[in-house]
């Protein structure tokens, strides 16, 4: 990189002639940066559009930082009271409000480009979280979390949780009624924690809700602490990705020991730049044309009003739904004068706790029940891991049902339904839906695997019926090419764990047998139903039935020319 020169003789490196070349040479002589650039420029990345989902998250984070920087220039994180003197919007003129809310209005209506920046910032936050979730789905369903990437999976989950924290702290800053409602729910959730809840609430709000401290505190968290940790973890996330090399989809020639793809320069630098401009462009377009979080609709915060359709941003909607689904009667217990509000504790603390725990432990759980200690760099096709795919879809189903339950009032008004009926349906679906989704997904996966087996063994149906001289009819099948076959046979279908017998040779009960037995039970849940990949022997057997003993070269050519037969349907 450092020598941007023409073809020169090796023994005498020529002096760079262009300006860029000279500048690069100057830098290289002082920092030896050429070594690093050479390394990165030649680094090979595998090619697939779904590997760009994480990039969308990264680039929306960049947009968040840039637009957020602009907003901090005008936002005043103060809960002091003021009267709004601005003319726009007319509905806010003369209202008593906090300085934070007034500065948000001022930023939106007086600062040039302020509203655009606010909207870009908010849309970016929604897209940031959405792309993180979609990226996680890609990683989960393709098994990219397996060794050696479990740590990076956890870093990713921390990034998602920090994304939630960033969204929540930012959402509460303008000090409008809706964000105040959200804070009030947070206050209630914190207070529901046994023993320490009330004290924690007083600590967070600096006294009883809402107090005078929460906006400046959230501001510091939002612009300093949370993005700081986010940046550090993003750096770690990317560093680990480069260090461990990127995973690749299965295909001919791709193994756990190589990376098949293109060099970073010029291919991926160009693609990433293109993607960055796409993300920036789409976010700017959304910010310019679609209004978001019109705080003046809700007005300055006042603890008394709550409007219909009060909901959090989409990534918090599952919590709202969880709270909405929880029956209130009989779930608030008073024990020795201490209130245990299970109607808040279970939906707002236990349920999200279960969801996040599942995400964190899953890679380790799967490795344990598979008995798998090897490195994996080739991704799984989702169908080849039916239990994992089923569990992932079950998880998403639970998440989506909770999010829909959080929107139950809007579903009721837009589809002319009874909100009570919807709530009951979701209460049942929350338990039944994931189980059903798991079962259906697993069956679909197994079905697809069997179809793969069928294809590998018998080839594609050609639709051509041939009649032999003896009157027999057969349909001609075209065999798969090498790439197609590789994709369908190169996977593992592990069997459930085999465990040592209950007693040793002398009939003494083995220590740890009970635990092994339980792990085996879980392993059966994962791998009892499985479709094994086609073995070469099976291919040979499939081709040898009937009168065609084996696939000779001439026959294959004839088939490819569309004139012969290789196998038959029975």
């Amino acid at each position: 990189m450092s020598t941007a020169t023409h073809d020169t003789k090796r023994e005498a490196p020529a002096k760079p002639t262009t300006t860029v070349g000279k500048a690069a040479d100057y830098l290289d002589q002082r920092t030896s940066i050429g070594v690093a650039v050479k390394e990165f420029a030649r680094k090979v990345f595998p090619d697939h559009w779904s590997f760009m989902l994480g990039e969308i998250a990264l680039f929306s984070f960049v947009v968040l930082i840039i637009s957020g920087f602009f907003l901090t220039m005008f936002f005043e994180p103060s809960m002091a009271l003021t009267t709004y003197e601005g003319e726009h919007p007319a509905t806010m003129h003369g209202q008593l409000m906090s300085v934070a809310f007034a500065s948000t209005l001022d930023m939106s209506f007086e600062v040039r480009g302020g509203l655009l920046m606010r909207q870009i910032h908010h849309w970016s936050a929604l897209i940031f979280m959405a792309s993180i979730v979609v990226h996680m789905m890609r990683v989960f369903f393709t098994g990219a979390f397996r060794k050696p990437r479990e740590i990076n999976w956890i870093v990713g989950i921390l990034l998602m949780i920090l994304g939630l924290a960033a969204g929540f702290t930012g959402y509460s800053l303008p000090d409008d009624v809706l964000s105040g409602n959200g804070l009030r729910i947070t206050d209630g959730v914190v207070k529901s924690i046994p023993l320490i809840g009330s004290f924690m609430s007083y600590m967070i709000f600096g006294g009883e809700f809402p107090g005078h401290h929460i906006v400046p505190r959230l501001f510091t968290l939002h612009i300093f602490v949370v993005p700081g940790i986010l940046l550090a973890l993003i750096a770690l996330h990317l560093f680990l990705m480069v260090l461990q090399k990127h995973t690749q989809y299965p295909g001919g020639g791709r193994t756990d020991k190589n990376v098949v793809g293109y060099p970073a320069l010029p291919v991926y630098v160009a693609k990433m730049t293109g993607n960055f401009f796409m993300v920036f462009g789409v976010l700017a377009l959304m910010g310019a044309t679609m209004s978001i979080n019109n705080v003046w609709n809700y007005g300055p915060f006042d603890p008394s009003p709550v409007s219909a359709g009060a909901q959090p941003d989409w990534y918090m909607l599952f919590l709202e739904g969880s709270l909405r689904l929880m029956p209130g009667q009989g779930t608030e217990w008073v024990i020795f004068g201490y209130t245990l509000p299970l109607n808040v504790l279970i939906p707002a603390v236990v349920i999200p706790g279960i969801l996040f725990t599942f995400l964190i432990v899953y890679p380790f759980l799967e490795a344990r029940v598979t008995g798998d200690d090897r490195e994996h760099h080739v991704l799984d096709r989702p169908r080849n891991k039916p239990a994992r795919t089923g569990l992932g879809v079950a998880f998403l189903t639970a998440f989506i049902i909770l999010a829909l339950a959080g929107s139950n009032d809007l579903i009721a008004t837009h589809f002319a339904l009874s909100i009570n009926a919807i709530t009951w349906v979701f209460r049942v679906l929350f338990f039944v839906g994931p189980v059903f989704a798991y079962w259906v997904t697993k069956r679909i996966c197994l079905g697809l695997q069997r179809k793969d087996r069928e294809l590998v063994l018998h080839g594609h149906e050609s639709g051509r019926i041939v009649r032999f001289a003896n009157g027999e009819y057969i349909e001609v099948h075209t065999p798969l090419d090498d790439q197609e076959r590789w994709l369908r046979v190169n996977f593992e279908a592990p069997a459930p764990l085999a465990i040592a017998p209950k007693t040793d040779a002398r009939g003494v009960k083995r220590k740890g047998y009970g635990a092994d037995k339980r792990w085996q039970g879980l392993s059966r849940f994962f791998y009892e139903d499985r479709v094994s990949p086609v073995t070469p022997a099976e291919v040979a057997a499939a081709h040898s039935h009937g009168e065609h003993d084996e696939l000779s070269g001439s026959e294959r050519q004839a088939v490819e020319a569309g004139a012969g037969t290789t196998s038959r349907e029975h």
Partner: protein, 259 residues
């Protein structure tokens, strides 16, 4: 003065004084008391037409003399405003039984509606149809209307009147299309699940402020498409549909480029 003073011991003087006092009290009361039922310019002919219309279209449920039947309210004393609201928005006559009577294209023209209102108003005093001035949004204060709306109305109708759900399939309708007069009448008469906001609760001027606030909302958002003014759920939905849709489309496109 002397002549008057001379007669103050007349035996009829207390009676005259009493009459005067009564007249004054009555007069002051008539001048100051909230005037609920203004009969305005209703002719008996209107009332007759209204009665005929009522008996043909409403009496099945509300009773021959609007006295109400089992589960159907009496209309004696609901006033012209209630009739005008229900009939001019098409809610009455009701199309079918359901969680609540829904708005539909009105079945009667303005003249027939006025006749019906006159007939029902003649049955007993009730709130009258507001005047154009009372509902003129340009005379209201939208800022005060905002404060009143979010304290009294937003919990059902949404912060800017986009509507919201109530229990068992009932709902508070969106107010984008509702006429100023109908908004005022709804507050005055409390149709269906809605509570009555009488003039002591929210004064006529304040009602006009609320109307003014709601009309202000119809201009749309300064930020672009309002996305139904439904808040974060619709924003999240569009973030996925438009934002992530475009970006994943772009990723597929870029991914397909070099290879």
């Amino acid at each position: 003065m002397k002549a008057l003073a001379a007669r103050r011991h007349h035996r009829l003087a207390p009676v005259v004084l009493l009459l005067l006092a009564l007249l004054t009290t009555g007069g002051v009361y008539a001048a100051l008391a909230p005037s609920t039922a203004k009969a305005e310019t209703v002719s008996t002919a209107d009332i007759e037409t209204g009665k005929k219309l009522f008996q043909a279209n409403c009496a099945t449920c509300h009773g021959a003399n609007a006295e109400g039947t089992d589960g159907v309210p009496s209309l004696v004393g609901v006033g012209a405003a209630a009739v005008d609201f229900q009939v001019s928005t098409g809610r009455m006559p009701m199309q079918m039984n359901g969680p609540q009577a829904e708005a539909k294209p009105p079945q009667f023209d303005a003249e027939q509606t006025a006749a019906l209102a006159a007939y029902v108003a003649s049955l007993g005093a009730g709130p009258a149809i507001p005047t154009d001035e009372q509902v003129d949004p340009t005379q209201g204060d939208p800022s005060n209307g905002m404060a009143l709306f979010r304290t009294n109305c937003a919990m059902c109708h949404n912060a800017v009147g986009a509507g919201g759900a109530l229990s068992e399939g009932k709902f508070a309708p969106a107010l984008w299309e509702t006429s100023e007069r109908n908004i005022y009448q709804a507050m005055l008469t409390g149709p269906q699940s809605m509570p009555v906001f009488n003039d002591a609760n929210i004064t006529p001027d304040e009602k006009r402020d609320i109307v003014s606030f709601l009309v202000e909302q119809r201009e749309g958002s300064a930020g672009g498409n309002a996305l139904g003014a439904l808040g974060p759920v619709s924003e999240g939905l569009w973030a996925f549909v438009i934002g992530l849709g475009l970006l994943i489309g772009a990723a597929v496109w870029i991914g397909a480029k070099s290879s």
